[in-house]
């Protein structure tokens, strides 16, 4: 009898811990690994030597921004891919709804529709982003990346670099 009540207690604590973790991770803050180099050098920078590339970066994602959906330029966000809802990608917002955005490659200017945003990876050469699939609805965004938490030598807040040559009219 002693061991079964111990097991029951342990199960109860485990389930409670699981419930609280899932709720906090869905609504407030969570930690996710970053795969791929499309946000290099901000996340997962590719160094020339192979030492130091042991593991992916882990970042802190906050979900409190999903209450009001107010983002700013330079926010790095996690979103569901418009081509495959099961995949999540991490990119940077470069244009907000209603803004005129001048794209680099083909020199034309387009207006980001209401409720959408234009996202791009920092590593322009190797990034599947709005340049391929166009602006994405803000409803696909699942959180905002605020800090890098692993590896320790690159822990810190994500910087939003100033983009030159981009103006919102």
């Amino acid at each position: 009898m002693g061991s079964s009540s111990f097991l029951w207690n342990f199960t109860k604590k485990f389930v409670t811990f699981g419930l609280i973790t899932v709720t906090v991770s869905d609504r407030y803050v969570t930690v996710v690994p970053v795969r791929g180099g499309s946000m290099s050098p901000t996340l997962n920078p590719k160094t020339s030597s192979s030492a130091g590339n042991f593991s992916d970066d882990y970042v802190l994602v906050e979900k409190i921004c999903l209450d009001k959906y107010k983002f700013s330029h330079g926010d790095v966000v996690v979103f569901s891919s418009p081509l495959n809802h099961k995949e999540r990608h991490i990119k940077r917002i470069v244009a907000l709804p209603g803004e005129w955005f001048g794209s680099r490659q083909n020199y034309d200017v387009l207006k980001v529709p209401e409720g959408h945003c234009w996202i791009e990876g920092d590593n322009a050469a190797a990034s599947m982003d709005s340049k391929s699939f166009g602006p994405i609805p803000l409803g696909l965004i699942r959180g905002r990346v605020t800090h890098v938490v692993w590896p320790p030598h690159r822990m810190g807040a994500i910087q939003s670099p100033p983009r030159e040559g981009l103006s919102s009219l």
Partner: protein
């Protein structure tokens, strides 16, 4: 000595407060998990889904399991986050899955029927009342990731309880 007995009393009260808080927290977590992963109520209003849902307002239950498993099909009633305003949810019917060719008719743009192909990862949603509905005919196909749940049961008004019709 009085201090010791006060401290013991406070300890007792604090422990009881912690226990009650733990129960409340567990309850709220269970509510969140049910609401996000299983079933949640939604209030629908507006003319765009007449005659399936009335104008004044219906309360329906939407389940979130089918869209996670990818089992949402043509003809399903779904709750979708609006592509023009992410703070709003809209309820429409799926009229085309990815790869389908959709033929649609928009009374506000004349009598011609138009054709569209739904790209990969997107769905075509339309309101049942094509005369008063802003849907994929206006803002294009929406990504599957915007679908929040599938409507499977109506609970209000009380005389229409049950599965909403086709």
């Amino acid at each position: 000595m009085k201090v010791m007995s006060y401290m013991a009393q406070w300890r007792g009260i604090a422990k009881e407060a912690m226990d009650r808080t733990a129960i409340a927290v567990k309850f709220l977590c269970c509510l969140h998990i049910t609401d996000a992963y299983f079933c949640s109520p939604t209030h629908i209003y507006g003319p765009s889904m007449l005659p399936t849902f009335n104008m004044v307002g219906d309360i329906v239950l939407a389940e979130h399991v089918s869209q996670r498993l990818g089992k949402v099909r043509h003809g399903d009633l779904v709750v979708v986050r609006s592509p023009s305003d992410p703070k709003k949810s809209i309820t429409k019917r799926i009229m085309g899955m990815e790869g389908d060719t959709v033929t649609y008719f928009d009374p506000m743009l004349g009598d011609a029927t138009r054709v569209a192909v739904v790209p990969k990862g997107h769905v075509w949603i339309q309101g049942d009342n094509i005369f008063a509905s802003r849907d994929s005919r206006h803002f294009g196909p929406v990504p599957y990731g915007l679908i929040q749940g599938k409507v499977f049961f109506r609970v209000w008004p009380l005389d229409c309880i049950g599965v909403p019709g086709q």
